[in-house]
Amino acid sequence: MSSVEQGGINLKPSGRVAAAPSTALEEGGIGQTVGQTTVQDPIFSCRKVHVSYGNKHGIRDVSLDIGKRQVLAMIGPSGCGKSTFLRCLNRMNDTIPGARVTGEILLEGRDIHDRQLDVVQLRARVGMVFQKPNPFPKSIYENVAYGPRLHGLARSRAQLDDIVCSSLQRAGLWDEVKDRLAQAGTGLSGGQQQRLCIARTIAVQPEVILMDEPCSALDPVATARIEDLIDELQESYAIVIVTHSMQQAARVSQRTAYFHLGALVEVGETDRIFTNPRHKLTEDYITGRFG
């Protein structure tokens, strides 16, 4: 299953890690997370989150808060567990056979693994944008209307039209597609498709948007547009973005979390992380010595 690989479980004990400097063992290797893991009035509060696939470990002992109306960037080398952690937040790991998630993840104080909690409702509150733009093979209009229809958000056709229009506007796509809403969403360019996917996500009016390397399949111009969009969306949503680009993390986020080998190594204000990293591994990564 390709999604398993995207989930970042391929911990490669050799390769990258072997290339890592021996100073990785300073401060006892990857021990306690360095930096401030908690925030005031968090929307997500995660404690000791542990994910395993069969007998492979995805992430271990990750504790991290996610603040409202801010962007948290998660960086780290491939297979470090950042996508796996992201997929915990809307329980997308449930769809992977053999995945086991332990620990506590609270969404506004409520455990998302609570049996009483409906995973469908959770995913309506916590939207997700994927690495590859993946619009449904339907019209542009239907792509955006899909979520509101599922959750019965619109009482009339006019209301649905409004939701579609405003979602496309917020995603910065309206002007480009307003004359061809009935055409296939798959006929758009890669960057447009990704903005369509963002419009589709915000049409459900989520509280949090998870983005799993949303720009990795896009060219620089399309990437810049998505980054501008993230800046705007941040005024209304909590955004968690996984990225391979440190420049992107520095540009769009207020907080940055650095993952390594399934552990959360360091987290803090983005400016602080990039100017004054406290953990040796973080420093090595952001200065480009490995990863």
Binding site: S2, S3, K132, P135, F136, P137, L150
Partner: protein, 323 residues
């Protein structure tokens, strides 16, 4: 030296060209052979069926009388039996296959996937004669003693569909044949459906789940639209097999050339009639009528394939233009 290497090269090139030409003509012969076979079968069938078709003309298709003694032959009962058994079989097998495929691709725990998948493939490998004896000696008595009396009591008195479930419970009959057919085509349809469901990209399903869709919503709104061409193909494969199935049906349908309003009554199908009566067909008109039955079966399966092609074309065009 140069000349020598040139000579070696050109002989190599010549051999290569020759091989290429041989290969091309071999594939051409294989392709033409298929056409020739199809043409030959058609000619032989029509030729053999000609005496009966010339004698009874359109009456061969519109009459249900089948009397070898007076040499009166009409195929309507067999055609009706062929179509009705296949339709009922599809009515049962398609939803069940859909369920099997959805379970295997979306819901099944991993440890159960393989056993169920292998069991389905094994079911497809059971020879039809086995289904025939099983139908006759196991299924028919059960139907006769319990299921059919219950159906007669429950549905018989109803106004619209009542007549379908009236009369004595024979055990063997149209319904029994349809049930056996359903079991026989089930593995084909479900394995095709499972395979096409598995081709739906995970990213597409995840975007459905990511928006808060339930498994059912993802299956119905993402998986099925994405794989509808394959689904139609699987159904047609099953239908084609059901229409032509001979041995198992001959065992359990009762082989009576009549059209009864009740599904519980004995009937016959085209292939069952041919298999059942060929050895005892005396007189050229009788034999010719049986061959004419074969022509009809050929036409029916041919139109099923044609309709399927047409539907697929329309689906593809719709998928291209409107979505």
């Amino acid at each position: 030296m140069d000349q020598l290497s040139l000579a070696v090269e050109s002989s190599h090139a010549r051999r290569q060209r020759l091989g290429e030409r041989l290969f091309a003509s071999a594939t051409l012969i294989a392709a033409v052979l298929v056409l020739a076979l199809l043409g030959g079968v058609t000619i032989a069938l029509v030729n053999g069926a000609w005496p009966a078709l010339a004698r009874f003309q359109l009456g061969f298709v519109t009459r249900s009388i089948w009397n070898p003694v007076t040499e009166q032959f009409g195929a309507l009962a067999a055609v009706y039996g062929t179509i009705i058994t296949s339709l009922i079989a599809m009515l049962i097998a398609v939803p069940v296959s859909f369920g099997v495929a959805v379970f295997l691709t979306e819901l099944s725990p991993r440890w159960l996937k393989r056993p169920v998948g292998v069991a389905i493939e094994l079911l497809a490998a059971v020879p039809s004669i086995i289904f025939g004896i099983w139908g006759l000696f196991v299924l028919a008595p059960i139907l006769q003693e319990t299921v059919e009396p219950w159906l007669i009591g429950l549905l018989g008195p109803l106004p619209a569909i009542g007549p379908l479930f009236r009369g004595p419970p024979y055990g063997i009959g149209v319904l029994t044949a349809a049930l056996v057919l359903a079991i026989m085509v089930l593995p084909f349809i479900s394995s095709v459906m499972r395979d096409v469901f598995e081709t739906v990209p995970d990213v597409l399903k995840e975007s459905g789940y990511g928006l808060g869709a339930t498994t059912w919503e993802v299956v119905w709104q993402v998986v099925v639209p994405h794989s509808r061409v394959g689904i139609v193909g699987g159904i047609m494969l099953g239908l084609g097999r059901a229409l032509g199935e001979t041995m198992a049906v001959t065992f359990v349908i009762g082989n009576a050339h009549r059209i009864s309003s009740s599904l519980l009554a004995p009937g016959t199908t085209i292939s069952a009639s041919i298999a059942n009566e060929f050895t005892e067909a005396v007189g050229s008109l009788y034999t010719s009528s049986l061959i004419a039955l074969g022509v009809l079966l050929f036409l029916i399966t041919f139109s099923v394939i044609a309709v399927a092609r047409f539907m697929l074309l329309r689906l593809e065009r719709r998928a291209l233009s409107s979505v």
